[in-house]
């Protein structure tokens, strides 16, 4: 997203190219254009644009993608720290 970039070098998304069958689902579901598929294989085009929503890993039929999906929400993370439990959030307005 032009003008909207968050922190670089933190995203946990990983692709196991050997397991990839090039179906293109990751490219289709990613709202930030992280993946591109060419010549039967996906590759990570822009890892720092990843927001770790987990859509790619969910929809990868061969489980070639791993990502640690979570809550990109400071309030939820803070509550999680304070209460020692897992943060979830349905917020947004």
């Amino acid at each position: 997203m032009d003008g909207f970039r968050y922190m670089d070098g933190v995203a946990t998304v990983r692709l196991d190219v050997a397991a990839c069958i090039g179906c293109g689902m990751c490219e289709e579901v990613c709202p930030h254009g992280v993946f591109a598929v060419a010549e039967g294989k996906a590759r990570i085009l822009d890892r720092d644009a990843c927001m770790e929503c987990g859509a790619c890993a969910m929809n990868c039929p061969t489980r070639a993608i791993s990502v640690n999906p979570g809550v990109g929400c400071a309030a939820a993370i803070l509550t999680g720290w304070l209460s020692g439990s897992k943060p979830t959030c349905g917020c947004g307005g």
Partner: protein, 390 residues
């Protein structure tokens, strides 16, 4: 996005991310939810809803027909939930609805039972003959619900089965909003109910172009954007969400304001307290409204920096404006406090954005929280200490 943004359930171990996301996940019970949802929705479709207009007969029985008009009641409801009033209860009954005059070949659009979302879909799909399959996302929008797993594989399969969709349509295709993908495994749905999943555009307003192009999304339809208006409509709920902690902070400020050479002065508590609460309120506005609106233009990547800058600049203006009546310690305290409050509040806006990763937010918080706390303590010392220097 015309609709809301939201966030995903966390799986602590990457290898468990596929399995640990359903509503049956035991860990989900002790998880913290920062906004409601929760209980399942009543499933009986009420024909007296203002958006229902008659019914369509199908081999599986009558299906309520909805229209595309948005009335004053819908607008009022939207305004209310934007301010966070009764948001959890703003739901439609899950199940199958008809839009226009759909037949066995009509497309099936899957959506959430948050009424705001449902209204956007029936409005933006105006003119189409389509089936709308509403999942029970417990009154939460598609993206948030996908993160929580309620807009999920099992719920899709269940609703397709309950609605007896295979008796109503001759094709075997569901169109899901792309932002539902974090909760849904397309290949599992085909295995579970025989329907294949096509991910439609991110925004409901592109659904007609998507169908007209033979279910092809342009790259632009696949991308999330976050324009100024979308950011602005999310700010009221940020403020209402902060009203309770801000109220407690105000009480503390009034108590601190009374401390001075005469141990505790009620007059000073009122006079100095008003000023301090005004600084708190200004800091909240800087972080919850000014920063979101100016987001792409404020320098820096982290929200705490953007918010700190917005608050700092506004505080500097306030100091210039009040320079006649402010003593040096109080002026410095104002500057530090407003910067800290705005920075902290702006950081909370990460939860409303569609581009911040949880790894990034956590990293940002580990760096920013100690600085914000330090500035706040320093501001408090200067302000309370300043009372003794008079």
């Amino acid at each position: 996005m015309t609709d809301d943004k939201g966030y995903r359930a966390e799986a602590t171990d990457p290898s468990s991310s596929e399995t640990a996301r359903g509503c049956c996940d035991p860990a989900a019970e002790k998880s913290v939810s920062c906004c409601g949802g929760g209980s399942p929705s009543k499933s009986a479709i009420r024909y007296d809803e203002s958006f229902v207009e008659g019914q369509v007969d199908t081999p599986a029985g009558p299906v309520p027909r909805v229209h595309s008009r948005i009335g004053s009641r819908d607008l009022l409801g939207r305004w209310r939930v934007r301010w966070g009033i009764g948001r959890d209860r703003y739901r439609v009954a899950p199940g199958l609805y008809a839009l226009g005059a759909p037949d066995g070949n009509a497309p099936v659009l899957v959506t959430a039972n948050y009424k705001l979302t449902f209204d956007v879909v029936r409005r933006d799909a105006a003119g189409l003959d389509a089936w709308i399959l509403v999942l029970d996302t417990r009154g939460i929008n598609v993206w948030c619900a996908a993160g929580e797993g309620t807009f999920g594989t099992e719920e899709v399969i269940r609703r397709v089965t309950v609605a007896r969709l295979s008796e109503i349509v001759s094709h075997r295709r569901l169109i899901l909003p792309q932002l539902g993908a974090p909760g849904v495994a397309a290949h599992e749905i085909r295995k579970g109910c025989g329907f294949s999943v096509v991910y439609g555009p991110v925004r409901a307003r592109d659904i007609r172009s998507f169908l007209a192009a033979g279910m092809k999304a342009t790259p632009a339809m696949r991308r999330v954007v976050f324009p100024t208006l979308d950011r602005l409509v999310l700010t009221p709920v940020e403020i209402t969400g902060l009203s309770r902690p801000a109220g407690w902070a105000a009480v503390v400020l009034f108590l601190l304001a009374g401390i001075g050479p005469g141990v505790f002065s009620l007059g000073a508590a009122w006079e100095r307290g008003i000023g301090a609460v005004a600084v708190l309120a200004a800091g909240i506005l800087a972080g919850a409204v000014v920063t979101p609106v100016l987001l792409p233009w404020l320098p820096g990547r982290s929200f705490s920096v953007k918010g700190g800058l917005a608050g700092g600049v506004l505080a500097a203006c306030a100091v210039m404006w009040q320079r006649g009546s402010l003593e040096a310690p109080a002026a410095l305290a104002l500057l530090l406090a407003m910067t800290a409050v705005s920075s902290f509040v702006a950081m909370n806006f990460t939860g409303a954005t569609p581009f911040t990763s949880p790894s990034g937010v956590e990293k940002e918080m580990r760096r920013a929280l100690p600085v914000q706390a330090g500035l706040t303590v320093l501001a408090g010392l200067l302000w309370v200490g300043g009372a003794f220097l008079r």
